[in-house]
């Protein structure tokens, strides 16, 4: 249970308001025409939207985990946060190895491991 306050108010309510606000921004980011803004940064609207969505997803994620799931402010918060973060390494490995690789023919050793001067 929460034993702290956010801006002097109840943390659950504050968190709830905050989440609603962020979600509204997300929906707006998709709905609004950002192509001019994107053009000024020499990129496409899709990229801008994706960036906004990713950046907003992070605080939302943290707010839910920290306040609703009591990973902040409780006596057991620290150890439970560590527990929750434990799979991070394995998640990164899976994303790198499965999500971000592609099948390919072996047309030579990868460049980064061919210094060119080794040999027996």
């Amino acid at each position: 249970m929460a034993h702290y306050k956010i801006l002097g108010k109840d943390p659950y309510w504050m968190n709830f308001y905050g989440l609603m606000l962020l979600t509204l921004i997300e929906v707006a980011a998709v709905g609004l025409d950002l192509s001019d803004f994107a053009a000024s940064y020499d990129t496409t609207e899709k990229v801008v939207t994706l960036w906004i969505l990713t950046i907003i997803a992070i605080p939302k994620f943290i707010m839910i985990a920290a306040i609703f799931m009591h990973l902040y402010g409780d006596a057991d918060s620290k150890i439970l946060t560590l527990t929750a973060l434990f799979p991070a390494f394995f998640i990164i490995i899976m994303v790198l190895f499965i999500g971000l690789t592609h099948p390919d023919a072996t047309t030579g050793l990868p460049d980064w491991c061919r210094p060119g001067t080794y040999g027996l």
């Binding site: 659950y12 929906v27 998709v30 985990a65 527990t83 899976m94 999500g99």
Partner: protein
Amino acid sequence: MSDHDDHHAPQPWGPHDWHHGAPHNSFSPLFLSMGVAISLFGLAAAWDYGTYNPGHIPTILLGLLVVGFSMFIWWRQDISFDGHYDPISTGTPFRGIQVRKVATWVFLMSEMMVFTSLFSTYMRYRLGIENCGTVFERGMFDPVTNPTGWQEGVAVTCFEPASHLIASSWWHLAPGAVNTFALILSSFTVVQALRYAKMPDLDEEARRKKVYRYLASTWCLAVLFLTLKMVEWFVGFYVPEISFIGLHEHDIVSLVDEGYTINADHYQHHSYIDEATGAHMVANIQVSASLFYVTTGTHGAHVAGGIIGLTYMTFKAWKGLYTPANAVSIEYFGLYWHFVDLIWVLVFPFFYLY
């Protein structure tokens, strides 16, 4: 003939004697496994590579019945639980925390890996298969000037994100957006239920009402979530005329009716029409549709599982059986429920918006 417990025979069906450490036999695991096996068997019998054999639907129903029966046994044994023997950790790093709270977190670790697998699949395909929009922009095929272009009538294999349909109009996005708010709201109601159940200086009737109402509203929001999902996938809806905001009467077509299905090997979209010639680009989008339905469907299945748990908890709350002593069991459910909400925070932008 069970031997070592001197004071009572284990009751495999009835309520638990929550005496600490007494063997509490249960038929529930046996029946649950049996039911799951029967359902999976029936499911595989009822569909074979998309061919539907309705004769096997009773098998699935039988399986679900057995599962339901086992849940009933489980709950019957649980409902008398008043929190007095909730086991507490003794091992160093977790000392003092409820054992089942730790178990819930450990369970969430494996859930994280489930969704990571799904997202890895998504990334692999999203990055590995060319986007349909990109293919379309390359223009129509011409043996000399545009050899990589698309041809009228020949399906291109490409990736068509559902967001192309969903984010194309506010009304299409509406069910998903409402769902986002519904889930956040339901996270909030669960945590409120926990707060009031724990509040020590509340009289019993007031607590019963608060907890019961908050849990019931969570239940309603979860059902709303699934309903809107079904509307968005299969049903579609009607938009009335509201003249002062310039809205005209029309129907929002569901994703399936738009042709966005797992069997869509000749998918068409109104934006894939060549302006000069009026030719349609047709696409094979089965992989992207499968990804969309299975990933959001897995999330939906988690919500459905939550509804089953909530049904029991709402009933228990209605009976007034939550007290500050056993309120932490709402927290166990709440952790799961917030986690489902967290996943939606990721699913929504990547499957509905981007």
